[in-house]
Symmetry: D2
Subunit: 342 residues, 4 copies
C-alpha cells in the first residue's frame, strides 16, 4: 500500500515528529510505502513529490518546520483542482492521504473524502490551539513556552525602569496563547479576542499595579480589540498566514496607556519566533502519538477521521467535527484567571 | 477564616505557583487569612509557621522549590502527633489545611480528615506523575523537558564517538519520565520499572542501531530492573526522598552492554537537576489552576478532596482515591512507543 | 568608609551581579558600608537611597535588571545639579561613588570626578558593546545569545515556507549584536550601522540563496541604513532609551526585498527581550569581576578610573578614555564575516 | 589545492562550526578542494575519507559533535604510522592538513610538521579551556553555560530541603569549568585540581552557610583532590576520553560533609551533557573565526602554526607553544573568587 503525506498551512513545531512517526510505524509495522507531497495541497495538485522513507525521517524529530514544505494552496480554488489531485494520486498509486493541517487544510480533506471519495486521514495542526474536538494541538505548548520565557525576561526590564510593557502574542481568533503564557508569565493584564476589552479598565489595572510599586506586564493577543471600538489599525493587509492581519493592537494599547495614565509604556511583538525552532517535549510526545494513530486509521480503513487528544488518550473523530467551529476560550476560564489582573 | 498551607515530600517545580494562587485568590476573593507551615507536616506538628500573605507570594511564580520548605516528617509516626497538630491548629485558629504533596503527605491528610475531623484539602504533587485520579501532576512536564534537553545533547556526543549512551532518569516505581523524555528525545531503547527488561534484547537493539550507522541512546528509569534478575546493585541505602534506592541500573546496564556487544558505553545519571529550577509554562498553568481550585474547595467546605486534572478541566476527587494505587504506565502505551526501539 | 552605588541608563543583564560583587567584597574584605542610590543619577540628586548590605544582595546574581532601579536623569541638566549631589553625598557621609553605566552615566562621572572632585569609579555597561577601552561589556553576551536563539528558530519557519525573514536586532550606532548573532545564527546577510548597505546587493544575496534552495535570513541592526538613502522611516520619536529612534529598517527592508525580488519577506523585531532576563554565565563572570575590581579601585583611592576587560584580565583605564569615542565594528572584521553572505 | 581536515579527541560543541568555516572560505575564496578524514588520525592512517564540500557543511553550524567523527587514535603508536599517513595523503593529493584537536591531536600534528614535513595547521580544541597560548577555546563557554544552568536549578532543591548539594563538573587537570560555573552559579564553595582542598575548611564553609539560613552548593572539578590525601577513589579505570579517571570526588565529598557536619548532602555528576548539544553563540563565533583563520594559514603556507584567541583578535602561534604546558587556574584568580566562599 502506498500512502501520501502532506503538511499544509502555517508551520508549527511538531510537524516533523508527526511525519517521522507515520513513516516509522507505517514502514516497520505495516510495510507501507510513502510518498511525500511538497508544500501542502500544491504537491498532489501538481504531482510534486519528495522521497519519504526511513532514512528521510532520521534526525527530524527535534527539528521545527516541516521537511515536506508547506503552503496555503487550496485545490478547490483551482480549475479541475480535485480532478487533477485524483489523477495524480492514481498515477502515483497513492491509495490514502494523511493530511496534517489546520482548519483550511482539513476542510479540503473533508471535502475530498466526503464528496470525491479520496481516502483521507487528518492530523490536527494549529499553533493557536483553536481547533475543536481535541484538548490540545502540538506546537501550542512550544509557542506558550517561548512567549512565557519572553515575558519572564521583560519583567526585569519593566521593574528596572518602572515602565509598562505590552507583549503582543499570537492568537487572531482565540486567546489561548495569551491566556496560558500570560498566566505562566505572571502578567498583570491578559487580553483575548473572545472578549472586547475596556481600555479604561486596563489603565486602572496598570495604575493599581504601579501603586503597589511593581511594573505591569500586559499580554495581548494579536486579535484582541477594545470595547470602545476606537482602535485605529495601522495595517490590514494579508498576513503571512493568509488572513487579514488586524495588527497593531499592542502598539495601539501602549500608546493609549501612556496617554491615559502618564506612565511610560513599550510594546514587544513576539511574532514568528513563537512558531519556529525545536518543539517542546510535550509537543514531540503529542505529535508523535498523533502520527502513530493516524497511520493506524489508514490500516483500519477508517477514513474521514482526524486523530485528537482527549485527556491522555488519542481518539478518532470525524474531520468535519473539528473544523465546524473554532475552539475559543470559555468565559469561565477567563474569569478564573482574572484573579491575577491588576 | 484562617487557612493553613503546607508542602510535603520532595521538592517539585510548581509548588510556589500553587501557594501563590491559593493566597492570591483566598485573600482577594474570599478575604481569608493564611498561615504557612514550615517543612511539611513538621510545621503543624511543632507549630512552626511562616507569614503567608500577598507580599509573601510576590515574584515566586517562576521560582522552583517551595518557599515553605519541605520535609518527610510523618506525624503518624510521632507520639501524639495528631493531637499536637490539632492543638497547634486550634492555637492558631486555623480552620482548614491545604496540603500539597504526594502519596505520603496526602495519606496523612486523608487520615487527618477521615479519622480526626481535621478539614483538609489536597493538592497532588509528584514529579514522577504516578498519582492516580489526575491526568498529570505539575513538575512532571518540567522534569521531562530537562531530561529531553539532556538527551538531545547526548545524541551528538554519541554520534561523534559511535558510543552507546545510557541515560538514567527519575522514576522509581513508574516509568513516565523515562517514557516521555525517551520518546521526545528520540531514544532507541526505553526501559521502565513496570516491565522487567531483557538485557539480551536491549543488546540486540543496540547492535541493530549501530548496524544502521547510528549510535544508540538508552533511557532507563532508575527503578527499571533486568528480567534475568542478575543485576548487582551497588547501593541500597535510603535515598534523598526516603525510599530504598535501587540505584545503579544505568551504570550496570552500560557495563553489560559493553561486555555483551563489545561497543563502548557510558552512563549519565541526571539526578537532582530534573526536579529543580523554574517550572515550565505548562506546570505553572497546572499548578496555578490547582491552587485556585483548592481554595474554592475550602470555600465550599468540600474537605477530604483533592484537586485533579481531567482533560483540560480541574475536578475534585476523594483524596483516598488518589493514594489508593500508583498510576503506572499502561502496557499498551509502552507497546505503542516500542515501534521506535532498535 | 561609606560607598555609594548607582546604576544608570538602560537596564542590562549583569547589573545585579556587579552590585552583589561590590557589596560582598567591600563589606567582607574592607569593612565598607554601602548606600544604594535609586534610579541612576536621580538618587544622589534627590537623596533617594536604598539599603545596600549583604542581605540586600542575596540571590540577585541570576536576576536581570537592577535592584537599584535606573533612569536617564542627567544632573548636569538640572539647576545646581552638581551642588545638590555633593550636598547629598556629604549629608550621607558617602566618600566614594561606584557608577555603573554607559557613555552618558560615565560621562557625568568623569565630570564629577575631574571638575568637582567627587571621587568616582566607573563600571562600563552597554548591551551594545560599543564602549571603547574594554574588549566586552556584560549584557552583550546575553543579548547575542537571545538573538541567536531567535534566529535559530526563524530558520525552520523560513525553510518551511521558502520565505525571507528579516530580523531586526539592537544596535543603533554599532553593529556588534547584529554581527555576532548573525554569524552565530547562520544568517545569510548581516547589515550594520557602520556601513550603509546596498539594497540591490542584499536582494542579489537573497536571490542567490533561494537559487541554492534555501530560505535566507537577513539580520539587520536597528541603526543600519541603506546606501541609496531612500528609506522612509515610519517613526522618529524618542525611544525608550532616550535617543532618536530610527526605527523601521527591518520592515522597510522586508518590503523592498518583496518588491524587488518577488519573494515573500517577513520581519521580526526582537526588541526588549534582548536586554531582559537572567544573564548568561559569561556575563555573570564578567560583571562579578568588574564589581570586585571596582571596589579595589575604591580601596586604592584610584578614582576617575573605569574597570575594563583586556583578554582575560581586568584592568583600570581613565573613564574619559572609554567615553571619548564609540567602539564600532572594524571594516576588516565585517569583511571577514562577509564570506557567509549570500 | 586539496586540503584535508580532521577532528581528534573528545567531542566539543563548535567543531562543526570550524569545519563549516574552513570549507566555506576555502572553496569560495581560494578555490580549494577538501577531503574530510574520518575519526581523527584514524582517517589519514587508514585512508578513510568523507566528502567535504559546500553542501556537506550546510546546516551544521548549530549542531554539536563533529560530522567527521572523532577518535583517540595516535598514529605514533602504530607501526609505520607516519609513513602510512604520508602515503595516504600523497595518494589523495592532499597537500595540507587542518587538524582540530587538543593537546594529543595537536602533539601529533607538531611532530608530523616538524619531523616529517607534513604541512599542518592546528585549531585548538579543549572543552576544559586548559590549552596555553589562547585566551579561550570553543566548547568551554557552552560547557560553563550548561553547568551554570544546572547549578541554578539545584539551588531551589537545596533551599527547599536545607541540604548540601555537591556538583561535580568536568576538569581533570584544570579547574576552569568549576571556577566559571561555580562563580556564575553562585556556589558557596569551588574546588579545583590546582589546589588540594582542606575538607575541614569545606565543612566550615558549609556550616557557616547553614548558619545564615541558606543551603550550600559545592562545585567540585572532577580532578580536585583533598589535601589530607585520604580520599578513597572508587574507580581508576580509563575514562571515555582515554585518561585515568580519578572519579568519585563529588560522592566522596558529600559523604565526608554528611559525616563531619551532620547535614544531609547529595551529589550530582553532570557528566557528558556538558559537552553535547548546540554550541553557545560565543562558541559559534570563536569556532567560526578559528576556521576562517586556519584556512588563511594554509593559503599563506604558514604551517606548524595554531590559531589562537588573544583579546578579540585571532592570532597565529607555533603549535608547540600551545601544547608545551597546561593552562591552569592562576592562584590569584582563585583567591579573587574566594570572596564568595562560605
Amino acid at each position: 500500500m502506498k500512502v501520501g503525506v502532506l503538511t499544509g498551512g502555517g508551520d508549527c513545531p511538531g510537524l516533523n515528529a508527526v511525519i517521522r512517526a507515520v513513516v516509522r510505524k507505517g514502514v516497520q509495522e505495516y510495510g507501507y510505502d510513502f510518498v511525500g507531497f511538497r508544500d501542502g495541497w500544491r504537491g498532489p495538485l501538481e504531482g510534486d513529490t519528495v522521497r519519504l522513507d526511513i532514512p528521510a525521517v532520521r534526525g527530524i524529530l527535534p527539528r521545527g518546520g516541516t521537511v515536506l514544505g508547506s503552503s496555503r494552496t487550496n485545490p478547490l480554488q483551482h480549475e479541475h483542482g480535485i480532478r487533477r489531485i485524483k489523477e495524480n494520486l492514481a498515477k502515483l498509486d497513492v491509495e490514502a492521504l494523511i493530511t496534517i493541517g489546520g482548519e483550511d487544510t482539513l476542510g479540503v480533506a473533508t471535502r475530498l473524502a466526503d464528496e470525491y471519495g479520496v481516502p483521507c486521514v487528518g492530523v490536527p495542526k494549529t499553533i493557536d490551539n483553536d481547533l475543536s474536538a481535541t484538548d490540545y494541538t502540538f506546537g501550542f505548548d512550544t509557542a506558550v513556552g517561548i512567549a512565557t520565557e519572553a515575558i519572564d525576561r521583560l519583567h526585569t526590564t519593566a521593574e528596572s525602569h518602572m515602565r509598562v510593557l505590552v507583549v503582543e502574542v499570537m492568537g487572531r481568533h482565540a486567546g489561548w496563547i495569551a491566556l496560558h503564557s500570560g498566566l505562566a508569565g505572571g502578567a498583570n493584564v491578559i487580553l483575548i479576542p473572545e472578549q472586547r476589552f475596556d481600555t479604561e479598565q486596563v489603565c486602572a489595572w496598570v495604575t493599581s499595579r504601579f501603586r503597589a510599586s511593581y511594573a505591569p506586564i500586559v499580554v495581548v493577543a494579536e486579535g484582541a480589540m477594545p470595547r470602545d471600538g476606537d482602535m485605529v489599525l495601522k495595517d490590514q493587509s494579508l498576513d503571512s498566514y493568509g488572513h487579514v492581519r488586524l495588527s497593531g493592537v499592542g502598539e495601539w494599547l501602549a500608546n493609549e496607556i501612556e496617554k491615559r495614565t502618564g506612565n511610560e509604556a513599550r510594546t514587544t511583538v513576539l511574532g514568528h519566533v513563537q512558531r519556529g525552532g525545536t518543539p517542546s517535549a510535550f509537543d514531540r510526545w503529542l505529535a508523535t502519538r498523533f502520527g502513530l494513530h493516524a497511520v493506524d486509521c489508514v490500516r483500519d480503513g477508517d477514513f474521514g477521521k482526524m486523530v485528537a487528544l482527549r485527556g491522555t488518550d488519542i481518539v478518532r473523530v470525524p474531520i468535519a467535527d473539528a473544523t465546524a467551529r473554532l475552539k475559543t476560550v470559555d468565559p469561565k476560564l477567563y474569569e478564573e484567571v482574572g484573579v491575577f489582573f491588576g
